[in-house]
């Protein structure tokens, strides 16, 4: 009986103030969508960093007129360097093979280049890819070194952009969450005001505090959950649009977002949406009803 009473009060409450309820749900949905998207991006960027930095190389290209002595010297130094995990020497033949593979689409270019024209190089894997700068400083003036190229510089740029997008999404999520919070507080106040007589009687005859508060808190939680379902729907829609084509190009660059990734964000969004609503409603009631 009591459960039925509480539930019907929740529905009546949402309906009584339906415009505010809709505003609350939409704001909540956008906020949670941004939160879920930001979280997903954060996770993906983490995955990608692992994947890309794992394979990142520092290349030390040698001058074409490098002497065997200079080369051996460098080789010994690199092998004994604590920062370096792995050293691979790439001679002109090997460089040519790689070049052929890389430009397989452009046979004219491949034909125009002779193995002789390509520089020898040392390919390094570092223990910590971020210590690239130390390697650079140490070897840039060594004899026989033409140029030091670090792939992670490019990656840094890519990840800089992705992190920016992610922070932007989270910032919007926070602002929308604040708006949602205020709307919840307002909705609860309006609801409490419109039920002030009932609440006064309930307090007088000794209804328990949870019984007085439950319909209001649940009203907010239901709105929060509807919001999280809407944001889930938006995510699924986005994934479908992305798979359809317009964003498919990005899929190669960004590690693909699987359905399970998307559905796993739902508990996060529903949890955050529900908890934020419940907490806000509860705090509002403490001030407003003094129960």
């Amino acid at each position: 009986m009591r459960m039925k009473y509480v539930l019907s009060e929740v529905l009546v409450g949402l309906w009584r103030n339906v415009t505010m309820s809709i505003a609350m749900i939409i704001t909540m949905a956008v906020s949670l969508f941004m939160l879920g998207g930001g979280g997903l991006l954060y996770q993906k960027v983490g995955d990608m960093k692992d994947l890309y930095y794992e394979n990142v190389e520092v290349s030390i290209f040698l001058k074409t007129d490098v002497t065997a002595e200079q080369r051996t010297d460098l080789d010994t130094k690199l092998h004994s360097d604590a920062l370096v995990k792995e050293v691979t020497y790439v001679d002109k033949e090997e460089a040519y093979k790689r070049f052929q593979k890389m430009y397989a689409d452009a046979p004219d270019l491949v034909n125009a280049v002779k193995p002789d024209q390509l520089p020898e190089s040392f390919r390094l894997k570092l223990n910590n890819p971020e210590q690239y700068k130390d390697i650079y400083d140490q070897y840039k003036d060594s004899e026989g070194v033409e140029e030091i190229v670090d792939q992670s510089k490019l990656l840094d740029k890519v990840f800089g952009v992705l992190t920016g997008v992610q922070n932007f999404a989270l910032a919007i999520a926070v602002w929308m969450a604040i708006a949602a919070l205020l709307l919840v507080a307002n909705t609860i106040q309006v609801a409490a005001y419109s039920k002030r007589r009932e609440v006064a009687v309930m307090k007088l005859v000794g209804a328990s505090n949870w019984f007085i508060q439950a319909p209001f808190v649940l009203e907010a939680v239901v709105a929060g959950l509807i919001g999280s379902i809407l944001s889930m729907v938006a995510m699924v829609a986005l994934k479908m649009v992305a798979a359809r084509g317009s964003l498919a190009a990005l899929e190669g660059l960004i590690t693909p977002v699987s359905w399970s990734d998307i559905f796993l964000t739902f508990p996060l969004m529903a949890g955050v949406g529900g908890l934020i609503s419940a907490a806000t409603a509860w705090v509002t009631l403490r001030f407003y009803l003094r129960v």
Binding site: R197, V205, A207, S208, N209
Partner: protein, 226 residues
């Protein structure tokens, strides 16, 4: 049943205490009037007994429970043993007489079946038989107060508090409400009534506690308004 021991209550920002070192003891089954001019502090007594406010000094004991040190989360359960009637009835306008009384039962966890059994009985007792399905605006002031009394009494509380229950009623209707309270008192319920209706006090000839400026100036077993 009710003990106030050297109770002092000063509201914040008030220049003098509403109740100043007041001690009263009320036995089970008594009918007590608290009388005095407006602002004398008599309504504060009701608030203390309901645990709506806490005293600054002294002890308040109701039904053997020390209300002074009661935690607020225990308040709801404590209130179930006390019925309360006010000058302004405090009925829910969108519910019928029956629903108003049943509401009070349902929100403390009684089933609809219990309400169906108990509510008609208590409405009959207060003399509203046949008017169960009227809304408050379809009832006279006296009838509305009867609904309020029914709601206060439906749980068979040990104590019935009445804060100027006849304040909004004409003299004849007031007498009828007093007869009703008297009948409830005869079932063994302790009745504490705050009023400044001299007519009623004089007719009832019950214990009278007079308060002036927060102090008890008179406590008579079979008093008049004086």
């Amino acid at each position: 049943m009710i003990q106030l021991e050297q109770v002092t209550k000063t509201y914040p920002k008030a220049s003098r205490p509403s109740l100043d070192n007041v001690s009263v003891s009320i036995e089970k089954g008594e009918f007590v009037f608290f009388i005095g001019p407006s602002g004398s502090g008599k309504s504060t007594i009701i608030k203390l007994l309901l645990h709506e406010v806490a005293p600054n000094k002294g002890r308040v004991v109701v039904n053997g429970k020390d209300v002074t040190s009661m935690r607020s989360w225990k308040r709801p359960h404590f209130r179930r043993s006390i019925g309360c009637v006010f000058q302004d009835f405090r009925l829910l306008p969108n519910r019928t007489a029956y629903e108003n009384v049943a509401f009070a039962l349902e929100v403390i966890g009684k089933t609809k079946a219990v309400a169906r059994r108990v509510v008609p009985e208590v409405l009959e007792l207060v003399g509203l038989g046949g008017k169960e399905h009227r809304y408050p605006h379809e009832l006279s002031g006296g009838e509305q107060q009867r609904v309020a009394v029914a709601r206060a009494f439906v749980n068979r509380p040990l104590i019935l508090l009445a804060d100027e229950p006849t304040g909004n009623l004409d003299p004849d209707t007031s007498i009828e409400i007093m007869r009703l309270l008297d009948r409830i008192n005869r079932t063994g319920t302790t009745v504490v009534m705050v009023t400044h209706d001299s007519n009623i006090v004089n007719q009832m000839r019950r214990r009278v506690v007079e308060i002036e400026s927060g102090r008890i100036v008179r406590d008579q077993a079979r008093g008049v308004y004086g």
